[in-house]
Amino acid sequence: MRHSHTYLFLLVQREEKQLEASLDALLSQVADLKNSLGSFIYKLENEYDRLTWPSVLDSFALLSGQLNTLNKVLKHEKTPLFRNQVIIPLVLSPDRDEDLMRQTEGRVPVFSHEVVPDHLRTKPDPEVEEQEKQLTTDAARIGADAAQKQIQSLNKMCSNLLEKISKEERESESGGLRPNKQTFNPADTNALVAAVAFGKGLSNWRPSGSSGPGQPGQPGTGPILAGASGLQQVQMAGAPSQQQPLLSGVQMAQAGQTGKMPSGIKTNIKSASMHPYQR
């Protein structure tokens, strides 16, 4: 029996701690919200002639962000259901309460019969309640399918609008640049990176797929023919000579496989070079 008592006690203690922690979080969130609302109101009242739309948007965004975090705090798994808590006024007195003044920053001086109904109210205003009831009956009347369709069409319209806006933004940016000269060419970037990474467009004896713009592949092969003997010289210096005839035989076989360029040129190159493919 005592075990269950202690267990219950611990549970209650934990819940109290959670309640306290979440209340603190809520308090700080609400305080932030109040401050930003206050500054927004001040801005609207005092700086209305200098106010710009982006500045108003900023304030709205700040408020919406804070409301969001407030919602998140409320939805957080560690916050107990506040719905289950009840606040009951224990003592009402028409005298000034200094403690209360301090806690509410001077807004609520007296905890009396006039103040309590407003501050401890849990039901919304009658007009607000009416509107909410109206909205819920409307929503129920439409039916689940129609509601779903409406949701989807709203989402589609929003995304279309977003696309149009971003496209407009992109086009206006590039349109502004087009009269000015373009400072880089993405195709060139890719060609250069490919050349440095794995030699695309650089190897003389491989049929290069894409050279850079303005560099046709054909003129490259001319000097190769002339320099074939030069090639032989260079490669011979680096390797034992008995490997040469073996490799050239192998290269001829490969030439048959990968023939894309005219065969005359191919045989010249292949017989002279010691290609890394066969070892």
Partner: protein
């Protein structure tokens, strides 16, 4: 069997795994001057440094499907400078938050008989090119703006032709493994070069 990503590998054998963080872009020839001016303003104050390098890429074909690649680079305008041998691993992809291309990197200075040595070891030259351009530094970041020239006659570095009408711009940092905040610094620097140059992480496998 795939090796674990190099950034996780511990220090072994007394050497630290160095990674190269890389961002690449290009600039058209006529905008080169503006880019150089901007870089001179942004980078460390030093004499503008130009370089003319000849790089040869060597492959070693083994039993595995992918050959082993080593890059040998020599300076053509600085006599007496050592040759530079470099190994670059496969870029580590997959981390969307990393803003730069990261790959394992080993850099070694060698003497002039490097090519003979590599040939004796069984490497064969796959391709070569000449790189001519400018070099800037900002802290540990190195910015290279260079033009790639294709060598028309293998071995003859005088007969070259430009590969394209653009200069390649590379922003690179060589740092020990695991320092990913480096890529944030690189991205911030790259932002300052827009809209002249668009430096980004380009996966070479996509361009194959």
């Amino acid at each position: 069997m795939e090796a674990p990503p190099v950034t996780m590998m511990p220090v072994t054998g007394g050497t630290i795994n160095m990674m190269e963080y890389l961002l690449q872009g290009s600039v058209l020839d006529h905008s080169l001057e503006s880019l150089i001016h901007r870089l001179r303003g942004l980078c460390d104050n030093m004499e503008p440094e130009t370089f003319l390098d000849h790089e040869m890429v060597f492959l070693l074909k083994g039993q595995q499907a992918s050959p082993f690649v080593l890059r040998a680079r020599r300076s053509m305008d600085r006599g007496g400078a050592p040759w530079h041998l470099r190994y670059l691993g496969q870029p580590e992809m997959g981390d969307k938050n990393r803003h730069a291309l990261v790959r394992n990197c080993v850099d070694i200075a060698t003497s002039e008989n490097l090519t003979d040595f590599l040939m004796e070891m069984g490497f064969r030259m796959d391709h070569e090119f000449v790189a001519k351009g400018h070099l800037f530094r900002k802290g540990i970041m190195k910015i290279m703006v260079y033009k790639i020239f294709r060598i028309l006659v293998p071995g003859n570095t005088d007969s070259t032709e430009a590969l394209s009408l653009s200069y390649l711009v590379e922003l690179s940092v060589v740092a020990p493994a695991g320092q990913d905040m480096v890529s944030d610094d690189m991205r911030n620097f790259a932002e300052q070069l827009k809209p002249l140059v668009h430096l980004e992480k380009i996966d070479p496998k996509r361009l194959m």
